[in-house]
């Protein structure tokens, strides 16, 4: 017996009666209340006070810094640019001479951010949208690499740079033998290696969430994988790129360990962090300079964060697909 009626509409066209109120949704609503806003402003202020103190101190004369707290600067205002002058351009050996290290930091950081971003975006696209044998295993391997601590790779990497790779007496790759400024390459290489697993993982999650129909529409329109990546994927993952870019920039900029090991402490390659650590260690009696030195190292991450922030746009995908 059969009495067939019109077939049911496919899933997706049915009207969904509003999203269910989950616990997360409730928590989220509470977080939007005025009290929560007030509390978070208070916390933000508390967290910022030390930085603010550092900022004020960096403009105070040496004697003042060494005898009174930074808050007294408001009742007895005495400001000078002396600290910055000394730290950045001072000629004496005891001053920071940070200007050169500042450049070193930029030279280290910018490629160390761009390389992993570029490689990870390509790898993530391939892992998410190209069909090839062993894809899942590669993804699992990349995922697993995230748990390897950076410190474990330091010695192998160092020996890779200085001795190359040889297996059973056969040299597979010669030693790099880099000197002076060439050591930047080692730092870029190391930072790229350390960043890639997380970067691939994050970007893969983002890229694989792009609507499948979009990729198929592009393929039917005649786009090849490189073209789809450039014209469709890249513009749509800008928020993820910006997020990871900031993350990686802060990490590399503030990194001491990797830079110290792979770039060395020489003035031609060492970044700000290495120099600041030296200042703190050897100039204990001239620590008024630390305030301005530290602030100089903070400024760049702040600029990067504020300028990349505008790429955190929501709803980039709006209007593309329905349902």
């Amino acid at each position: 017996m059969m009495t067939t009626t019109t077939p049911p509409a496919p899933a997706g066209t049915e009207s969904v009666p509003g999203p269910p109120v989950t616990r997360a949704a409730r928590v989220r609503r509470r977080l939007n209340s005025p009290i929560a806003t007030g509390a978070s402003i208070l916390i933000a202020v508390l967290w910022t006070v030390p930085t603010f103190g550092l900022f004020v101190s960096s403009f105070r004369p040496e004697d003042e810094i060494k005898t009174t707290g930074w808050w007294t600067a408001f009742s007895n205002p005495q400001f000078t640019l002396q600290n910055y002058q000394e730290v950045l351009f001072g000629r004496s050996a005891s001053s920071g001479q940070l200007a050169g290290y500042f450049i070193n930091s930029l030279v280290i950081t910018i490629p160390s951010v761009l390389f992993p971003l570029a490689f990870a975006a390509l790898a993530a696209y391939a892992l998410a949208w190209m069909n090839f044998k062993g894809r899942d295993w590669i993804y699992i391997a990349v995922f697993a690499l995230q748990i390897v601590p950076l410190q474990m790779a330091l010695v192998p990497l160092l020996s890779f740079f200085s001795e190359g790779v040889s297996l059973g007496g056969i040299e597979l790759m010669p030693a790099w033998n880099l000197d002076d400024e060439e050591k930047f390459v080692q730092v870029w290489f190391a930072h790229t290696c350390f960043a890639l697993p997380v970067a691939v993982f994050l970007l893969h999650n983002f890229i694989s969430q792009l609507p499948k129909d979009l990729m198929e529409a592009a393929r039917v329109d005649g786009a090849t994988h490189p073209k789809i990546f450039r014209s469709i994927v890249l513009p749509l993952i800008v928020p993820a790129l910006a997020a990871f870019g900031i993350f990686q920039f802060l990490w590399v900029w503030n990194d001491l360990l990797v830079a110290l090991i792979f770039a060395g402490g020489g003035s031609e390659t060492a970044p700000l962090t290495v120099r600041l650590a030296e200042l703190a260690g050897t100039r204990a009696n001239e620590w008024q300079r630390l305030t301005s030195g530290a602030f100089i190292s903070i400024v760049v991450p702040l600029i990067v964060f504020l300028s990349l922030q505008r790429f955190f746009v929501r709803g980039l995908l709006a209007g593309g697909v329905k349902g």
């Binding site: 979009l214 039917v220 329109d221 209007g319 593309g320």
Partner: protein, 363 residues
């Protein structure tokens, strides 16, 4: 302009036993509007995607004209596709969306401009060319998706339920627009839908699928008048055909006190292949009359009356062999019965459909 030929095309999804599309044989003529229709999961979308090159063909081949495209990538097939959820590029304007495929083929700037403007005029999108998809309504997005296909001037249009995201009124409007457009452009079109009204109104021919198997391909009229099997009979038409399996006698099929006459050949065919003294008979709601008790119709207790304005659908149940069976009858509005009434239904002679009780094939 091109013909499309499926030759024993088969798709088996990895990890499944049953083919999603099973040895599909189908020929689509030059300039033809062919509609693939069937319930969810019947393989109609898969068939379309195989033609688009988005789905592998595990067995058999697909030809566009005489060219074997079975294993070619989508870009080598010269087809354009309209997706169910539009799949517009969200970061591009309407103009860029439409121009994307042409740019990829290194069409000259002026040619791109001409074609996009032309398509925009055809689809009344001129005012929206510089907008992004998110600033468009559902109907406009759907038209952009159409425009993206039109500017390609492809050999074949593929449409995968392009209307299912529109509201009812817009859907009817767009339905006629697409049909007119296709007639004007004369491009071979394969159109997938689950909506049998769309299939009936738009297609030159309609292919009905079930469980990956093609059931019948024919013009809408033929499909409606002579369905090849029970499934097609029940699928096409709204409300659906009344189809019951009932005992077979010398005179025909017996619905309780009513006997639906069958021809000698039909009776013979029904008894073949272990027919078991039963036959499946169907008659459409509009192919029966309400008669008086003395004329010997099937007694139907009315459960529900749908007043459609032009006419009315009467739903009721009748006792056949001790079980209660539901029937639908379309009737004139002037003779609308009330709920709970008993009416007598008689199918018009010659307008019934007989199917084999076991195989379900038309006899």
């Amino acid at each position: 302009m091109a013909t499309v030929t499926y030759s024993k095309a088969t798709r088996i999804y990895p990890g499944t036993e049953r083919p999603a599309v099973d040895h599909l044989d189908l020929e689509i003529g030059d300039g033809e509007f062919l509609v693939l229709v069937g319930p969810s999961g019947c393989g109609k979308s898969t068939s379309l995607r195989m033609l688009a090159g988005l789905e592998d063909v595990d067995d058999g081949s697909i030809y566009i004209d005489t060219r074997d495209v079975t294993h070619l990538p989508p870009k080598a097939r010269d087809i354009a596709m309209v997706f169910q959820n539009y799949a517009l590029y969200p970061h591009m304007t309407v103009y860029e969306n439409m121009a994307f495929a042409l740019k990829l083929r290194k069409t000259s700037k002026s040619e791109i401009d001409r074609r996009v403007k032309e398509a925009a005029a055809l689809l009344q999108l001129e005012d929206y060319l510089s907008r992004k998809p998110k600033a468009l309504s559902g109907g406009q997005r759907q038209r952009v998706a159409m425009g993206r296909a039109i500017v390609r001037e492809p050999q074949v249009f593929l449409m995968d339920e392009p209307l299912s995201n529109l509201d009812a009124k817009l859907r009817v409007q767009t339905r006629t627009q697409i049909a007119t457009l296709q007639a004007k452009l004369g491009v071979t079109t394969v159109y997938v839908t689950h909506d049998q009204v769309e299939a009936m109104t738009m297609g030159h021919r309609v292919a009905v699928m079930l469980d990956g198997v093609l059931q019948q391909v024919d013009t809408p009229r033929e499909l409606y008048d002579t369905p090849a099997n029970v499934f097609v009979a029940g699928f096409m038409g709204s409300p659906a055909m009344n189809i019951k399996t009932v005992p077979l006698t010398d005179g025909g099929a017996t619905f309780a006190e009513l006997t639906v006459p069958l021809t000698r050949e039909q009776i013979a065919a029904a008894q073949a292949e272990s027919g078991d003294g039963k036959v499946t008979v169907g008659f459409r709601p509009e192919d029966c009359d309400l008669v008086s008790e003395s004329e010997g119709g099937l007694a139907l207790v009315v459960e529900l009356v749908e007043d459609l304005g032009s006419d009315a659908n009467v739903y009721g149940h009748a006792a056949i062999d001790g079980t209660s069976e539901r029937f639908v009858v379309r009737t004139d509005r002037r003779h609308m019965p009330n709920m709970g009434d008993t009416v007598y239904v008689k199918p018009r002679t010659g307008r019934n459909h007989a199917f084999h009780a076991v195989t379900g094939n038309r006899i």
